[in-house]
Amino acid sequence: MITAKKLVGALALTAAAALTAACGASGTGSDGAKASDVKLRMTVWTSNAEQLKLFDAIGAAYRAEHPEVSSITFESLPFADYNTTLTTQIAGGNAPDLAWMGDLSRDLIASDALVGLTGKLKATAGWQYDDLVDSATKEFSRDGTLYAYPFSNSPFALYVNTDLLAKAGQKIDPKTLTWDQVAAAGAAVHAKTGKAGLVIRDFDYKAWNMLATVWTGFGASAWSQDGKTCTFGSPEMQRAFTFLHDAAFKTGAMPGPGTKADFFAGDAAFTVAQVSRASLLTGSFKFGLYPLPAGPSGRYAVLGQAGVGVLAAGKHQEQATDFLAYLTNPANAAKLAQFFPPPRKSLLTGTKLAANNKKLSAAQLQEVVVGQLPDAVTLPNHTSPAEIAQKGKTALDAMWKPDADIPAVLNSVCAAIEPILAK
């Protein structure tokens, strides 16, 4: 029979073996923080081969000038799990040195988890800090300090499948286009061709923050300027959601919940998507690209942003900040601009942007990027973005039924998210 003493002995033996294994693992896992052997790692959510190739090329050029940096790795993480993976890496003591960031930026900045960049960028010869557009840096700044370089500033635009419109006998005038006209034309296309009318890309009746591309035109916002008060119950938001609800359930202008339609595969007449999505156009149909239609409150522009920052939990803050300054200097910013609309005034002309763009003309880029950027607002962003998104979605699910009580559902969204806004 096994006695308690022997069992304790066996457990002690296994625990000792486990500890030995753990110590061994930690000893071999370190890359050593020697200044002469710096290995930088940057997490990105792109897996586009051309974009990664450009990053690698810039990294290689930097290493040629900085022999102390032995490698720069661009670690591609799936977009859907990007925030979760990044926070798990940070929590697990394996933070990257640099990271792309979207809606996680507010939490990172509020937690002092990012290294302030303003001093370094201003002090770098030839970097030209004043060249940055204010509307682009606003989202990534706190108390006058920039915490992430806004390398991608892609305004949302209206893509139009002109072939489908012609089939349905519909004409639009982009200069005076309104949301009501888009809904009417979309409903007509759906009725005549069976294809979808308007698709708000990536919304899919889940990612409700994408609807800001519509409700901003109705004068609505998700919360107050200071981010503390929910404004989902406002009359403007009710008008916006009445428009969306009618489009989904009355006129058929939008495909209903659970129905898939991909504009870029030719399945829809209109889509709202970022300018950078133009790379998905295959030439299988004729298209138009215009600024967002006017809403009841007039013309407006909405921006989708990504920034890159240096993590305070990274092993090589100084070298990472130096590499970030190099990655985003005017020459490299011009190279990155072929994929990502830049935040630099000097690069923001239709002609310059079109130099490396195979899908869009200089006139299109001038109108939908350069013309929109200065006054654009960003998608709703707040600390605890995932919790707000989830609680809001849970409440908004009641909206996507034909007989929804729109004011009641919008008020329930506020009831769900207000405690998080107030934190």
């Binding site: 294994a21 940070i90 929590a91 002092d112 699910d397």
Partner: protein, 295 residues
Amino acid sequence: MRYWTTRRRDVLTGYLFIAPQLIGVVLFVLIPVGLAIWYSLNKWNVFTGKQVFVGADHYAALAADPQLPSVLLATVVFSGGVVVLNITLGLLIAVLLNRRFRGATFFRTLFFSPVVVSVVAWTLVWGFLLQDNGGINGLLRAIGLAAPNWLQHGDTAMLSVVVSQVVRSVGVNMVLFLAALQGVPSELYEAARIDGARSRSMFTRITLPLISPTVLLTAIITVVGALQSFAQIAVLTGGGPGLSTTVLVYYVFQQAFEFNDIGYGSTLALMLLSFVMVLTLLQWQLRRKWVFHEQ
């Protein structure tokens, strides 16, 4: 007197044999559970790595969580549906395929094959089939039946995740039941037949008692498996609509890894662990009442 007696050598050999498993249990069960208990007592800012001891705050939050009743209800409905369907269908299919007929091997393979498919791939395909303009509704409309928007309504969404899970995993129980059925001595059936017993009596009085140890085993692994089902929910419904398919394990993931509240997520995980342990112990204790042992 010599220290390394034969007995001591035998004991050491025994410990060395179980050492790999013990190390695994310590590393991947005891230490994580201990850490989960520690995390549940702390507030952890994952962005900075700072931990603050908050005592029983997370347990108080658990008691006051307004979403928890809905989450527990969804967990009970999902797990109950999966367990009942998985065991009854598994047994039914096994009984049918235990007979000798042409094509029996083909059908055994057919029912078992979903088990080897990646759960995410399986669920993605079901997602396409179940969408409003998907394959299942196409078939229903073609034969003039109503086509619900399966994943957009609470009841049908829950039914969808349960069915997709059962169809994928019923093959495991089927194989276990098949093995048990083939171990039932045929003489018992012959003797019963001579005594004039009917099929139903033979099933309830011979088959079920003799395979009851396997029923216990499948019940335990199916209950544990159902309580741990995550990918089906994450991929197919994301816990919605509303909270209708947010089961406890998915809620743990949301709190810990999406909302970055590791402390509260750990508290919920410990609650899930306690449910699994209680249910398993309960089944183990109840076995005396219904599991048949020849000796």
